[in-house]
Symmetry: D2
Subunit: 355 residues, 4 copies
């Protein structure tokens, strides 16, 4: 099913972009955990729109209310429901979008699936805005993981053709913390300027660009995961593919399929009592199970489908070919805002795997 | 959980490489379906080892017995259990493998997870041999799908650095049928010779290579799938990542994250009454739901971790660094045999999605 | 997991008795369904407290807000979230309840499970109040079922030792509709007066009584359900046991285990083209699958654990035996209010089974 | 789905009464557990048919082969598949059963569901014989539970109208062990003679009788289970209703719905450091969560539907009313053989709940 996820941590999301509110129910949280609300707000701010010209001008403060599951800021063990009101919705005319299908969007598949009854305003339930409650849930998951010593961080590995470096084999905890407290995290400080130029260029051409986000999860103990249907890769990938615009997921080195076996096989060694590998081309997972090295993965994000250029499309009412020009507020590149969403999904996936 | 999968079609796999047998239980099959045993055997032959020097010399005919769920070759609607006996097991000494962890393999994670009790002979339950019952189940799924007009085919898109072409936008049904009846399917007839040379080169160097398999699923109707947690991508990816050695999955064009929005947005048009797109960079899926175009995806496969070269590793008994030389029968490249496994997982995933 | 349920219909409940609100997320609803809000309100009124002296004096209008999943009163196909604010909460002192465990309540098990962090005010997440959103969801399910011709009704079969008649073999549709529009449905008009006296007697003694609710689901087609783990009984029973205070569930005739085989075997016959049975001791289900006769089942409800008498118990802080007198507003018998909850669970269970 | 069950322990059953074999796949078992094969055989013997005139004369030794998941008698952590060959199948003529539906059996619902393709020989997949692999799985579960101190035992509480006593509040471990090592366990030694007479009387009249089995699970710690959808009752009941012929399940005292609140509320007290209740009318569960007292429940079993008397029924081929006389080997009462099945389901359910 589509709105629910999880075995040990249960997620249920709801809401439409222009409805009264969006939100999430999170079951399976431990009781007695003091939530760090400031940190939740910080992670949500990283995702929030309207902070600069690289993102949609729609301003949403994404202020949330926790409706259940906490008392005096401490979890009770009951399902936690958090809601975010939709305050900045434009009540413009959406009648064109009901019949002219935007290319690259959910419009046409949703029109068929829901027989035209889906809410198309602002993308409805398909809106990237639904990732706000995911980040909220992910922020809570990260706090639980941190108590187990598990740290998560990600960076923009690529925007259009501009590339950042990859994570090194040994990933410093401080680096991950630092990345997760940046609005535009890159490993190479200089590369973001070029990325910004690339995004601006796309924006000026009424176009958009995509990219790659690389994420690392450090200190997951060895022996977590399963062979086959619930391998770590199998467990995390559906969450990552749930993020709108994600079209690819790879674990370890992106180029591992082009390596020779003697390169791809990460050699084990003891560093004191600790088992490590000299390289980490397998991204901390072999046979579907963690080996104790950082879990590393990349997600590929397509360019935002909302662009202002005139595009060829169909009118499903008249059954004719036509053109569409999508107006409104769009991100020329959602990669920067998606970094914290990827981290959040990673946190939720690992927390669920830990059982 | 790891051994079970599915909502509408239920899979449960079992067995170890050197145990008495491996097998699968398939629940949720429709009653009254006449199974085409020859086709099942053909698909299993495509995966079976020992057919030439590109694959492990271990010969297993992979003859299966259907223990339940059919009568007179017709499904009864009860769970179908199929078993494959392990006939060609070498009772060699596996004591070294219990302590010296093979790099790139499941050995070390499994050692930690199962406290050393896992069966290491031939990879035990982690063996690629467990994909034989998957192919059997997938072959049945394909027969059900074919009655709905859905056709699946795949080709070796890349081996090491040797590349085949990509699927065209319009994929001919005959092409898919033809591909799925080849032992070494490529779109470009000439490219396999080079791939073969590459594999042979690796074999001669006691090394191995990986590659990419591209798969297409044609004629899935528009409107199948869901937003978020059960998007088509989210539904198929765990199955694909269950295949041993798969480290990446991408839907649509592999380079979509490097495109501009105006390129990535597949323009809709009516061809008669039928809705089509001029390009298919989104691989038949937008917003997590099918748009009626072929579902196209790629899986990246790492080089076989079993290589005969001496490798650095650890001894978990003595807690010391050591070396290992993995003897025995290995595939220098499992990509050719994995093609039908990818097709099978695709079939099972789509059948389950159709509900 | 505890907060989520369902394969085709997805439920996720949240909220605590004295928190800001309670609610539910319902996934998997068909798009394009016009909701009959008056009927939803009627069903919720049947469950609402404070309507007479048989129920707790706490008055809650149970007014709900639909936060997502509908537009202009029509379902969009996206998850529907409905919320009910908690308006009438008494901010009395709950410190005694944190340490003195009420017998028959969730207090002690919850104290152990949640390490004392659970919200004890008004029963917290364990409150019977959480059945309000269940009734809301069930009301929607009933509207969908009604379009398929399926009708649900229930009656108070027993309160304490006062018994109503059982459903006849042929259950008239009008009877079920009529029952579901009564506040105190019984088959025998006279019996409710005696039941009322029994409840009043318990109330005057600061005591409580329980009883049995019998429910019928008419016109479920034959062939629905499965052998073994997803039998109709297996599918419905967890929902019914989710209702606070339900301690038993039986399908068909309550006394079937005391019959002889020749009595218990419901004889088939053709009535025109329609297959019927002369008796319905199996409650419309044999082999876990429906046979086309009405599904009939009973749920046994224990007396409300909240009574004002002094009771023996423990203090978990001082680790000593002690006494407790539970003050506050209680139902001397929740059976009348639980009828619509049972019907709602039945509706949700059958809708999910129909797939 | 019907063939699979479980969150932490995964079950998948397969097989038909007259097919080559029946079996089960059990996932999620811990690695490194030495299986006590003698005990497994003992429990299976308790269920096996043909041991005396109270059960069907079909003799099946129910010898099993473990196909995967163990090595040298010790679990490997991989899915355990166990198979039981069907050796004693009568190849008699089943053509009448294909068209004349046996009352009280799965025949008619299955005929509709599977469009006549289901295997009707010996009940096919619906056969009570499928409980043999359940007992095997349950026996393994019991060994795991025993290491945690959890002990399970059951007795025949009622056969037709002959009643045994109920479990006392304090249930001695020795009593449970003793019960589970009897073929015909009752609390009152004398009562079985009367039960036997009752069964014999039914057999002589070509009839059958049912009854009630009461089961206790001692030493499950307090705090296990959940509110609502995954209450202990909700978790166990689907397993119990999966047992063919079970039509009712009640937890705690069967008569709790007829008690007053002051009786039904089990008073807590400290016995030393241990929390106990003076009565156990709630069967060790309040609010869906264990309170540390023994979990006690009853299952009601209908009389065996297979009786040799002439019965009224329908012919689904000719669409006419007709009569049927069911020949063959039947149990006049399956209660004695079902005791160990109930214990097994209880063991599997609790093991899964413990996570």
């Amino acid at each position: 099913m589509s709105a629910n996820w999880g075995n040990n941590i249960e997620l249920s999301i709801f809401g439409e972009s222009h409805g009264p509110a969006i939100g999430i129910v999170i079951g399976g949280l431990p009781a007695g955990m003091k939530l760090d609300m400031d940190e939740i707000r910080w992670f949500m701010k990283r995702r929030a729109p309207g902070q600069n010209q690289m993102s949609t001008p729609r301003k949403e403060k994404d202020e949330f209310q926790i409706v259940s599951g906490i008392r005096d800021g401490v979890t009770t063990g009951a399902p936690l429901c958090a809601m975010i009101e939709n305050t900045n919705t434009h009540s413009k005319d959406y009648s064109e979008l009901k019949v002219n299908m935007r290319p690259g969007h959910s419009d046409y598949p949703a029109y068929i699936k829901y027989h035209g009854y889906n809410d198309v305003r602002g993308g409805g339930h398909f809106s990237g805005r639904l990732t706000a409650p995911i980040v909220l849930a992910g922020s809570i998951a990260r706090q639980i993981l941190l108590e187990k010593g598990i740290i998560i961080g990600a960076h923009m590995k690529q925007i259009h053709h501009i590339q950042d470096c990859s994570f090194p084999v040994d990933i410093d905890d401080e680096l991950l913390k630092q990345l997760s407290h940046q609005m535009y995290p890159t490993l190479d400080d200089q590369v973001f300027i070029k990325m910004q130029e690339e995004i601006e260029k796309a924006r000026m051409s009424q176009d958009s660009v995509g990219g790659i986000i690389e994420c690392a999860i450090a200190h997951v103990p060895a022996g977590i995961g399963n062979p086959f249907f619930d391998s770590v890769e199998s467990h995390l990938s559906p969450l990552l593919f749930s993020i709108p615009a994600v079209k690819s997921v790879s674990f370890g080195s992106e180029s591992i399929h082009q390596m020779y076996g003697h390169e791809a096989n990460d050699a084990y060694y003891y560093q004191g009592d600790q088992v490590k590998t000299k390289t980490n081309h397998n991204g901390g997972i072999t046979g579907g199970i963690t080996n104790g090295m950082p879990i590393v993965f990349q997600v590929g994000i397509k360019p935002t489908p909302s662009i202002s250029q005139i595009q060829e499309t169909i009118n499903v009412q008249t059954h004719t070919n036509t053109q569409i020009q999508v107006k409104g507020r769009h991100d020329p590149c959602i990669v920067p805002r998606a970094v914290v969403v990827v981290e959040s999904m990673a946190a939720l996936g690992v927390l669920d795997l830990l059982g």
